[in-house]
């Protein structure tokens, strides 16, 4: 996926000015937030489960190499090939090679964020392999000229029913319909042909299970099962951090993942896929490949950002983020939006390429509260800001402003004098009114709201006077 994170501000403004997106986001927020609140009440020991999940993820990440090795051995023992990719380009090369080796002309795809990281669809097309997205949301985006997703589990959450209706009419050459079941049926009919004719299935993986060499897929549409069991070849692409030790660990994490993500007790489908088709089995792939991807992850291991690798991609942080709720996911400019994306994008693509993202949060900590694996997202965002300052990546006037403020604020007499003048100036500027509509000192503030007028004297002045009186 093309990186547009450096345009965050501009992207956000476009999102604010888009009424369809605004209406869709409003609707989505209520759904995700309210449903999660109900679903987490179903487990009595929710907090203890969160703690357990955090421990499972930490246990893996602290010894990632060992668990990956274990996974590799177990997967190979069941007939799978385990390949390693260091970046997106390597993912593309490996998948294209696999496709060529097996004479693949068409690949059906279930949701995979790694495939977005790699821009895999373009690479497949260039190699003469037709990629077909089969997750309904991803399919809608693909037929809309490969539009980027706006949410990691609800990629078209920003779109309206009318937009989808128009798109289907144009693409499928069918009469326009706005009934959701009918639209879904239409997509199913189109996709069914692809499932039956594709030689290769490409999926992501929610978890890799080290003890059995399996991949676990958590989905709500049947497409995931079709993609992974119908074609002769199945390619799983996941980040190296997705491994967990045991099936029992999977059970713990599965208590949290759907509840945090969609507010479901359990998703419609949970598939645990192990090995290639055995003799006498009617479905499953003849060839199974795992592509385990670094793409910036290995560098995070052992760093002060390691907590981020616990992420299980539920999307709760974005669903509850006031900023995400206001601008949607595409504004963040890469694969991962919201608070988790504001940490991951700079880490995986470079601090200098996502200069605004660590700042694109009010640090309200709602993301930290809802994260099922207790990632301290606000702390990580703040640490990224610190790294940016250290590397002089922030604008000079911003860095100067905080230095200057600290310099003045550490000199009480100077501070007292400066603030006396400042509040008088502001009071004069307000010209008797309760608030100032336009303030040159804080242009960003007054773009969307007034600046309230100060009382006109500072507390320290008044207190000193009162003391004398």
């Amino acid at each position: 996926m093309k990186l547009r994170a450096h345009r965050f501000k501009q992207n956000a403004l476009e999102a604010l000015a888009n009424p369809v997106l605004q209406a869709s986001m409003k609707k989505a927020k209520g759904k995700f937030v309210d449903k999660r609140a109900i679903a987490i009440k179903e487990i009595d020991d929710f907090e203890a489960t969160r703690e357990a999940a955090k421990e499972i993820r930490n246990r893996v990440i602290e010894n990632l190499d060992l668990w990956l090795e274990k996974f590799e051995q177990a997967a190979a023992a069941r007939g799978a090939h385990v390949l390693w990719a260091k970046d997106g380009a390597e993912i593309c090369r490996l998948v294209v090679d696999i496709g060529r080796k097996h004479g693949v002309k068409k690949a059906v795809k279930s949701k995979s964020m790694l495939s977005e990281e790699a821009g895999l669809n373009l690479a497949l097309e260039a190699a003469g392999i037709q990629p077909v997205e089969t997750d309904l949301g991803e399919y809608i985006l693909q037929i809309n000229d490969n539009e980027p997703p706006s949410h990691i589990i609800a990629p078209v959450v920003h779109k309206s029913l009318d937009e989808v209706a128009d798109l289907f009419q144009k693409t499928h050459h069918t009469p326009r319909k706005t009934d959701i079941p009918q639209l879904t049926r239409e997509a199913r009919e189109v996709l069914r042909q692809h499932f039956l004719s594709a030689e290769m299935g490409i999926s992501g993986g929610n978890f890799l299970i080290a003890e059995t060499g399996s991949v676990a897929l958590v989905t709500n549409e049947g497409n995931g099962r079709m993609v992974t069991t119908l074609p002769r070849v199945h390619v799983v692409i996941t980040g190296i951090e997705k491994v967990i030790p045991t099936l029992e660990d999977l059970a713990t994490l599965m208590r949290l993942l759907p509840r945090s993500a969609t507010g479901q007790s359990i998703s419609n489908y949970v598939s645990v896929l192990t090995g290639t088709k055995a003799e006498g089995e009617s479905d499953g792939p003849e060839h199974l490949y795992f592509i385990l991807v670094d793409n910036g992850r290995a560098e995070v291991v052992g760093s002060e950002f390691q907590d981020m690798l616990r992420c299980i991609r539920c999307g709760a942080c974005m669903n509850h983020c006031p900023v995400y709720q206001t601008i949607g996911g595409q504004a963040y400019g890469w694969v991962y939006p919201g608070p988790m994306g504001s940490v991951l994008t700079p880490l995986y693509t470079g601090l200098e390429n996502a200069i605004d993202l660590p700042h694109a949060a009010t640090l309200c900590n709602q993301c930290g509260v809802v994260c099922p694996v207790k990632i301290p997202l606000p702390d990580l965002l703040r640490k990224l800001r610190e790294k940016q300052v250290e590397r002089h990546l922030r604008p000079w006037f911003e860095r100067l402003a905080f230095r200057l403020w600290a310099w003045v604020a550490s000199r009480p007499a100077l501070y007292g004098l400066g603030t006396r003048f400042a509040v008088r100036y502001l009071k004069w500027l307000a010209d008797g009114k309760g608030s100032i509509p336009r303030l040159g000192l804080a242009p960003e503030w007054t773009r969307g709201r007034n600046f309230p007028t100060p009382e006109g004297r500072t507390f320290r002045e008044l207190y000193a006077q009162r003391g004398r009186a």
Binding site: T362, S410, G448
Partner: protein
């Protein structure tokens, strides 16, 4: 008991009357209030913007000013939490200072938390009459657990009717420097907060952090609402 008041820079500059209201409340609870004259800013804006050096400079200044007191109280959950939760991290490379930060941390309180849980204020001197709605500021709420305290105090005023808004716990979009880095996004979030607050029909939106209140007030006025008051809880709880 002897209490040092940390006025906060926003109160100092924008709404001194909140500082005086805090003094009145603390005195009503039987405290002897001291206001260290050299205090300025706790350094939170610098820390949240990634400037560790500036944050450390102001943290040390704050510690030196306030560590001699039994209690330190601030009319702001966000500033109180900054001292409590962040100072030890800010000063992690200077063990002596870090130890002093840790020693101070547990004695720093947000105003309503202190009034309810430490000073156990009984008689609230306020005289506010009418319907209000309460905005729970993020840091106070999620970091210091401030939710019941302001409501318990408001309940002591017989003529105040508290009407909860939808999303009282949702961020107002202020976020300190967020509001001046991303003005439009911040204002759009504030608009949602104002709409929820106004839907209660309240005459006043009340909160415990001036940053949020300035944000909400600025948005209300831009929306053309000149009548809804935006007040700090200390103002409501006193006769100011």
């Amino acid at each position: 008991m002897k209490v040092a008041l940390f006025v906060t820079c926003l109160v100092d500059l924008m709404r001194p009357r909140i500082g005086f209201a805090a003094i009145e409340l603390l005195e009503a609870a039987g405290c002897e209030v001291v206001v260290p004259a050299s205090q300025t800013c706790c350094g939170q804006p610098a820390w949240n913007s990634g400037d560790r050096a500036a944050a450390a400079l102001l943290a040390k200044k704050f510690i030196a000013e306030f560590e001699g007191f039994e209690y330190v109280v601030a009319p702001s959950g966000s500033c109180a939490d900054h001292v409590r939760s962040e100072y030890p991290a800010i000063l992690q490379d200077e063990p002596d200072w870090q130890a002093r930060a840790v020693a101070l941390a547990s004695r720093v309180y947000e105003l309503t938390d202190f009034l309810v849980n430490v000073a156990k204020l009984d008689n609230v001197p306020g005289s506010f009459a009418g319907r209000i709605t309460y905005h729970d500021s993020c840091t106070g709420l999620r970091s210091l657990g401030i939710k019941a305290q302001p409501r318990a105090l408001l309940a002591k005023l017989p003529d105040v009717e508290l009407q909860e808004m939808n999303g009282a716990e949702e961020c107002c979009g202020f976020g300190g420097t967020f509001s001046v880095k991303f003005g439009e996004i911040s204002a759009a979030i504030a608009e949602r907060k104002c709409a929820n607050a106004c839907a209660t029909g309240a005459a006043a939106i009340v909160g415990g952090d001036l940053g949020c209140l300035l944000n909400i007030e600025g948005k209300l006025r831009r929306m053309g609402d000149e009548s809804t008051q935006v007040l700090h809880i200390a103002e409501v709880l006193t006769a100011k």
